[in-house]
Subunit: 341 residues, 2 copies
Amino acid sequence: MSAESRRLDVLRAIVEDYVATQEPVGSHALLERHQLGVSSATIRNDMAVLEDEGYISQPYTSAGRIPTDKGYRIFVDRLAEIKSLSGAERRAIETFLDGAVDLDDVVSRTVRFLAQLTNQVAIVQYPLLERSTVRHIELVELEAGRILVVLITSSGRVEQRLIDAPSRSHSDVLNDLKGKLMVACVGQRLPDAVERAGLLAEEFAPADRKFVTVVVEVIKETFHHSRTDQRVAVAGTSNLAHLGTDFDATIRPVLEAIEEQVVLLKLIGEAAVSQQTHVVIGHETGHAGLSSTSIVTSHYGPGDEALATLGTVGPTRMDYPATMAAVTAVARYVGRTLADG
Amino acid sequence: MSAESRRLDVLRAIVEDYVATQEPVGSHALLERHQLGVSSATIRNDMAVLEDEGYISQPYTSAGRIPTDKGYRIFVDRLAEIKSLSGAERRAIETFLDGAVDLDDVVSRTVRFLAQLTNQVAIVQYPLLERSTVRHIELVELEAGRILVVLITSSGRVEQRLIDAPSRSHSDVLNDLKGKLMVACVGQRLPDAVERAGLLAEEFAPADRKFVTVVVEVIKETFHHSRTDQRVAVAGTSNLAHLGTDFDATIRPVLEAIEEQVVLLKLIGEAAVSQQTHVVIGHETGHAGLSSTSIVTSHYGPGDEALATLGTVGPTRMDYPATMAAVTAVARYVGRTLADG
DNA sequence: AACTGGCACTTGGACTTTATGAGTGCTAAT
DNA sequence: ATTAGCACTCATAAAGTCCAAGTGCCAGTT
């Protein structure tokens, strides 16, 4: 065992102890709780090096050490052993969606379950329209000149929008358009479907084109609007107590960030770059209010498709292996359920 | 001015000062900030009586007084003068819904606006189906044998449900049913509409009745399901900071109550009994975790119809007149907007 | 009878002082 | 490279001291 590898052992021990006790950990505590095979003086030397390298720090002179964001990062990337879920947890995951009736129900059950499982704030993003395929498009004439456009996606999401048609539309034109839209769009991913719909106007007589264009425009807009209107469900905010006792300094900014969905979606989107379960630690979020929180996310969707993201927000001093295991398992199970319908 | 009425003036002054300063108010402070026309000794005598009657209390011996729940109650019911909104606030209310595209948009804008306006946690309940009227019913045949039922209410809410039709339906039967449903249900309140729909089966040939019955059954069920599925939107949870600094004792239970929608809906439903803007103070909620919060609610809906409830949750030591004015004004404006569509 | 001025008494909060002990860094020895 | 020993640091907790705000009560006044 080289000195280098022992230093990493020390770092791992510090992270584990700090997560467990929530208190700065000193050389003596490490000696007692871990078999490192060296004396406390040696550990102190190692800690001095680790501090130089930026993995740990002291809250104040002559206190124990706590991990820095960089320290957690290397812990997550290289040091942590994957924790497997307990039997009870596994059983709970298999059943928490039993009897769910629709997409809203699935999402709200999932977010509550994940919050309870991890004891953190859970976040579940609704399936993204842009990654779904079109199952059905319906054009319904309500009163004279008002048309309801309904768009149903493969993931069960239903978007609807009302149009005030500019010219009164002959209902045969409407039916014709509906038929052509179905042929062109069903089974297509949404961005492709929108593009194809855009080309349809040319297939109509010049007199009807204006009407067709308006309808297609609204469909485009519905899609576009929903891109910015990415909905998320949140649960377990009372678990923010784990962050500390100072509401204004630590908890409030996090609550604000969570309500400000812009921030949330940016972080979730960031994670979308990578494939697997993904961890963003403290300052890596790039958001001052979240500097003492970490975010664990994973994708979900039927099969390998990544429809959307779910995850948790908790203190940087969280149990990463357990949280990652829970998030990964829940994401996989929800994805599988969505595949069945 | 009788002694009795002066005592109530003293109580009003205590509530107002305590709300403004968040600190127990003593006889001397009252003397300075209000024109009561008597000396501090007299005020002290009055305060002793008010304490005997249970309207105020001392946090500890020889401190100033703070209002009890009972004190706030009489303040709200009899002592408070109705505060009118500032010009800026009125202007903000007139515009915050400009450009809203659908019901979700209206609700989420409203809840955010109300939170910002009152600096409290805002809650907006989605329009209740059972109080809405039917604007449109659509039956759409997707693939073979699968039918989509879409129900659009006057408030803009859209409910949809998928049916696996038992027998393949002739599309002319479907159209016939659709026409009859529209005639029977449009403009009806939902409970009435469901009842009328139930009678339709008899108008069809015996061979088609089974099919009709299934469709009607699903419409009934859609309605019934949504009754339990009363959705609410929440915003401004970070304003809970006003409750105090002790997260675990005061803020956490409130967050939990808010997430536990059962509690929320019970309180909102309770308020539904009365007509006007309604206030529930502290222990009146009957929920231990909410013992230091008050809830101000009001109904909203087009015209006089009460479609649903909205309101705020804040500390018992809130500015009741201002909060009530804000909640009332927002409810009225949202109701008017909903009437326009 | 109601109000007021005066006064002794209470008490939490703010501030200071003093231990305590966990923890470090350094140096010299192995 | 590791370890034992030791002087030093510093947050936290406990104890002590002040102080100002506030009360209740009583005797005197209107």
